[in-house]
Symmetry: C2
Subunit: 397 residues, 2 copies
């Protein structure tokens, strides 16, 4: 019986994890849950899963939930709140496995503490590897515990890497759908509207990740994640556009063999893989081999998608740069969604913030968070300036 | 330093093996060679590789070679001949690794003896697994030594299987180019000419294997080989037509993940893999990821290609049936190549011979060879009768 904590239980990955746990009651047990501010769903999950401890973001919400739990006659659930509450969930002594699925930098501290507490961690939070990858992977190595990726690309890479030893890897190939502007000429990029950018051809996702997919920044983040997770330099991680997203990623070995992973696009599959690793257990998530038809591949155009090039720079420089990359991107995307800046301003803002960020190696999660705040402030300044001037942000060559 | 014997050193796989050995002089050493009747090439190989022992098929050829070696001033090579000579090469005490690449049943005994002598064996000979698979794999298990496949499909499967444990495998998918008649309507099959059948769209190979590719019998043999090599029942081995032959095969795991292997189509790659397993070493056999475009897949039509269905039957029944399948096919293909029978007569002859073959489990290579001879005789009788009657062989429903 594997005893599980979920950080971000009411989000998409959290709910998918609970769906997987539900399918294998003899294997998995929910011990602790950290939710955000969705009290109704948190209550439902508390009643269904009866965790030892449940955390909500706000103290007030935690009070409401605790009283409703008392009202329903259920006792024995310790309702906590805030960042400290999430850490309690992540480090509960009865937990073996922590699913880290809180979106954004607020997932960082609890995930790091889970690793420090010797838990096996399934990573669905991007920032853990982009902004704090060096710290978290170093700690996981110290603990001798695996960090298991819960997203289709890195999970695919993890599977393919089983075909050889790390020193036998020539290159990791991350597949990318290409986003909605893959075939749009560069000359039309300046006039891309929010509506066009939100219209992703194959995926329905949150707004930030949809824009990050349109700029290929999301793939850039994945390059950084792959570098940290698998301890490879950025020149050994390459991106290949594959619109059908059937092959989730590939690993090329030194002898010239490539292994590719293929499966249905259902997050329950990487979740199940992470929860059961190093075993595999039967699921009904079958890929129909008949769907294996007409797969296209082509290289991405870095000139058209400068966010991808910026991510490679950040991956190579490490330290504070990926923190700035992520923070600036989040601010720039929000500004684009509010129509304060244009599509091509997104990489311009990120580049400005990255250039202004000194090369430093954060030595704690607190330092990462401080760098993140700093980068956001500067990015917001640039956006404000842009609005004031009413003119496009000047490109930096 | 791995010390290598090659059974079939002057054939295509033998020469490719020597080319691999040549590229890594610090890793591999040629200790023993068994050639057929190509004295010139055998002499050249003897002078280049200076093996301890070299075998030719015929006594007379061995005499000529020995005297020419003396003439060239090279001493210390023991020149032997015949089946016994091949066994000497396969079991030489200084050999670690035997490449089994003699075409046809004449490779069986020496390969079996190599396994019995505790050698690690790289298998390029089809008959070892089709006709004597149960015997040879049982002996390899007793010896605790791996049998490493040297052909693109099973080598691909071997690589993909590293992604999980055998009991976690749902299905093995062998890819097939589909052959020249993949899109030809069944109604035109009766009039297929030798010339049409020899015109394989993607591969240049020997005549028998080209016809076996046109009937899909070659893929049927591979199904049997996969069953024996990986200890899976035939319903867990499936064929998928993939005309580009970029993905060499796939393994589907119980959790719903598939791993696929991709590489250049160069036999040196599976040879290198087998020679270095469980390691991988750098090669210049690079697959260009840019070539990864427009991959097509579709299921094979068993009604159009009854040879494939016959192979599944033989795989399921085991024992004498796969021996009969292989023997009858070789005779039928030879008769087709001599225009004695039609294209559709090939599966008819095989089915007749298989039906006439009693269910027996050969307990030695000698019994396999006796069954093989018996099946060939019967197949030749059917061909002779067909020629006498001058009419197509009656289909058996």
């Amino acid at each position: 019986m594997k005893r599980i904590a979920i950080l971000g239980s009411t989000g998409s990955i959290g709910r998918s994890t609970l769906s997987v746990v539900e399918s294998y009651p003899e294997r998995f047990q929910i011990v602790a849950l950290a939710a955000g501010s969705n009290i109704e769903l948190a209550l439902e999950q508390a009643l269904r899963w009866k965790p030892r401890v449940l955390s909500l973001a706000r103290e007030q919400d935690a009070g409401i939930l605790a009283s409703r739990l008392r009202g329903s006659g259920l006792s024995g659930i310790d309702v906590v709140h805030g960042a400290a509450g999430t850490v309690l969930v992540a480090t509960d002594p009865e937990v073996d496995f922590v699913v880290s699925a809180i979106v954004g930098v607020s997932g960082l501290e609890a995930t790091y503490e889970a690793v420090r507490a010797g838990k096996t961690v399934g990573l669905a939070n991007k920032e853990c590897l982009v902004a704090a990858g060096e710290l978290i992977t170093a700690e996981a190595r110290r603990q001798g515990k695996p960090l298991l990726p819960i997203d289709s690309e890195h999970n695919a890479v993890h599977q393919c890497l089983r075909g050889g030893r790390m020193e036998e890897v020539e290159r990791i190939w991350l597949t990318a759908s290409g986003g909605p502007f893959f075939r749009t000429p560069k000359s039309e990029f300046a006039s891309i509207t929010v509506q066009q950018a939100l219209n992703h051809p194959t995926w329905k996702m949150g707004k930030r990740i949809t824009i990050d997919s349109a700029t290929l920044m999301n793939k850039g983040f994945e390059v950084i994640e792959a570098c940290r997770l698998f301890h490879v330099p950025p020149d050994r991680v390459q991106v290949i556009v594959h619109p059908q997203s059937t092959i989730h990623s590939l690993v090329e070995f030194v002898d010239g063999s490539l292994l590719a992973q293929i499966s249905v696009t259902d997050m329950r599959l990487p979740i199940l893989y992470a929860l059961t690793y190093p075993d595999r257990i039967p699921s009904d998530l079958r890929f129909s081999i008949g769907d294996l038809r007409h797969l296209d591949f082509c290289p991405p155009d870095m000139a058209k998608f400068p966010c991808l090039a910026l991510a490679y720079e950040a991956a190579a420089e490490g330290g504070a740069k990926p923190v700035a990359l992520n923070a600036a991107d989040e601010v720039a995307v929000a500004a684009f969604l509010e129509e304060q800046i244009g599509f091509e301003d997104i990489p311009r803002i990120i580049r400005k913030v990255m250039l202004a960020t000194p090369a430093r190696n954060p030595e704690s999660i607190q330092q990462v968070l401080a760098l993140d705040t700093e980068a956001r402030l500067f990015a917001r300044e640039i956006v404000a300036q842009r609005r004031q001037e009413g003119s496009p942000i000047r490109a930096i060559s």
